[in-house]
């Protein structure tokens, strides 16, 4: 008899053979996209506006926050509004990825208990859904910044690496938190407070330069602080982001991604028992 293709042995925390894992993940890429699309469609299923909510949500969101800073801050120049919307939209890419990711494993119970597949697919599709929700907001933002009369420049192509870092960050966070939620379900209840704090700790309702140096020193521990700052530099001011911001964001994103993926892959065989 030939050598066995697969051997199943008692669970030990450890990485699965990465080559074959990635191959089977790649083989399921169309499932990821189909699964994400159907989940997304289901979220707006039966509502009058349907998929229009993908555009309405960010519009209303920026409207509400504009109201807030207008009332509190009393100032409402075009760049400030541009900064608010651009940062808010990117923030929601990460926060949607987190909130979709947290329950991706526990909600996928039926799939997990009945089919063998790379489990990391589920948090990945949470990030894909967050990305699908983000794309229409980009269009809205570009219309908005044209109306506001903000300048364009070639530097805006820096948005591509910044966005890639943000995606990696969102993906890493989704993978990490989905795995934590299997062992510690309470994290799902903590999450809204965590994202809310993150929103206020990040330069969204204010600009990074408004912060005193003393406070800013602590923002080093905020993974998305400099990411959002870089995004605002690029998208609102059409300037190249400073290297420190980019490096800070990249290092955080890579660390979260690798820690989360390691934690997830080494434990995923245990998930079916824990659900």
């Amino acid at each position: 008899m030939s050598a066995p293709q697969t051997v199943y042995e008692p669970f030990r925390a450890g990485l699965p053979p990465l080559g074959s894992y990635l191959r089977s993940l790649w083989a399921r890429r169309s499932f990821i996209s189909e699964f994400s699309r159907s989940e997304l469609r289901e979220q707006n299923y039966g509502s009058v506006f349907g998929q229009l909510w993908l555009v309405l949500n960010p519009l209303l969101l920026s409207g509400v926050y504009f109201l807030l800073i207008y009332i509190i801050g009393g100032q409402s120049d075009a760049t400030r509004y541009g900064h608010l919307t651009a940062s808010l939209f990117l923030f929601y890419l990460i926060s949607n990825s987190l909130s979709g990711g947290v329950k991706s494993i526990t909600a996928g119970q039926r799939l997990i208990l009945n089919t063998a597949f790379p489990r990391v697919m589920l948090p990945i599709s949470a990030t894909v859904i967050a990305l699908f929700k983000f794309i229409p907001t980009l269009f809205i933002f570009f219309i908005m910044r044209t109306v506001l009369g903000l300048e364009y420049s070639w530097n805006m192509f820096w948005a591509i690496p910044v966005l890639l870092i943000a995606l990696l960050m969102g993906l890493g966070m989704a993978i990490l938190i989905s795995c934590i939620n299997v062992y510690f379900r309470d994290i799902a209840s903590f999450l809204p407070y965590m994202t809310r704090s993150l929103l206020y700790l990040s330069p969204i309702l204010y600009q990074a330069s408004d912060l005193s140096d003393q406070l800013k020193r602590f923002e080093i521990v905020n993974p998305i602080f400099y990411l959002l700052d870089a995004w605002s530099q690029v998208m609102v001011y059409a300037q190249a982001p400073d290297l420190f911001s980019l490096m800070h964001a990249l290092i955080w994103a890579l660390s979260i991604f690798f820690v989360g993926t390691y934690f997830f892959l080494s434990r995923e065989r245990d998930f079916a028992v824990r659900l």
Partner: protein
């Protein structure tokens, strides 16, 4: 499979109140119950075998299927699998009720590990087998449970793996469709494929399988000729050939 064992720990909370929770928080001796789902099961299944797995509720049949397919790692022993495994442990896995039947054929097929091109090629066959007609373009939440199960079975039966594990998935739809799905399973019996069938329907097992394994409380009680094992099992369970036990599902 060599000495395969599987133990679960399930926690028991007798009174899920806030007070009880506060008392036990941080303590290591939680109320747990250890379930021995599988106990030293040795089994080898060759290509060409159609193995029926029988046993009472909670005998460990589904656990055994999950261990073989790699969904749950065993707590003891070792399982070697030579070939691709497809599982049909529950119908409609990966389906999304708000999507149309058509979209769900793709979702379910992709979830079962088929490629989009394969599904494209098989789509007409799937739709025809399910006998849904125009309803295939209606959202699945509008389906009756029979229609749902028919579509789910049709998708699942198109996957052509080396090893197919079917867990009580034949009880779909009306008598006509049951007959049809049973025939479909029979078609899947080939020399280069191993089929594992879990069922409570003794008549089906006797009809389809060429070997039967009987599990009881996580132990492999007997294995061999279908008629013989089923007879032993019936005597053990003290049920005669009553209509209810024979019910072909």
């Amino acid at each position: 499979m060599q000495n395969v064992g599987l133990t679960y720990k399930t926690s028991i909370v007798k009174r899920p109140t806030l007070k009880a929770r506060l008392k036990t928080i941080g303590r290591s001796n939680k109320h747990t119950r250890v379930v021995n789902a599988l106990n030293n099961v040795n089994l080898d299944i060759h290509y060409g075998t159609v193995l029926g797995v029988i046993g009472s509720n909670g005998a460990g049949k589904s656990s055994l299927m999950r261990v073989i397919s790699g969904i749950v790692p065993p707590t003891q022993g070792r399982i070697e699998v030579h070939g691709s495994v497809s599982t049909l442990l529950a119908l409609g896995v990966g389906f999304n009720p708000s999507m149309t039947g058509r979209a769900n054929v793709y979702l379910g097929g992709l979830a079962a590990g088929m490629s989009r091109a394969e599904i494209d090629g098989q789509f007409d066959a799937i739709a025809e087998f399910s006998e849904l007609g125009d309803a295939i373009d209606a959202p699945m939440r509008t389906y009756s449970s029979g229609m749902y199960a028919r579509l789910a079975f049709s998708v699942a039966a198109t996957v052509q793996p080396d090893i197919l594990i079917v867990d009580e998935a034949l009880s779909t739809g009306d008598a006509h469709f049951k007959e049809k799905s049973l025939n479909r399973i029979k078609e899947l019996r080939t020399a280069d494929r191993a089929l594992i069938l879990v069922s409570h329907a003794m008549a089906t097992i006797e009809d389809v399988c060429n070997e039967v394994a009987w599990l009881h409380k996580g132990k492999l009680m007997a294995r061999g000729n279908p008629a013989e094992i089923i007879k032993q099992y019936r005597e053990f369970m003290q049920v005669g050939k009553s209509a209810a036990a024979n019910e072909d599902v």
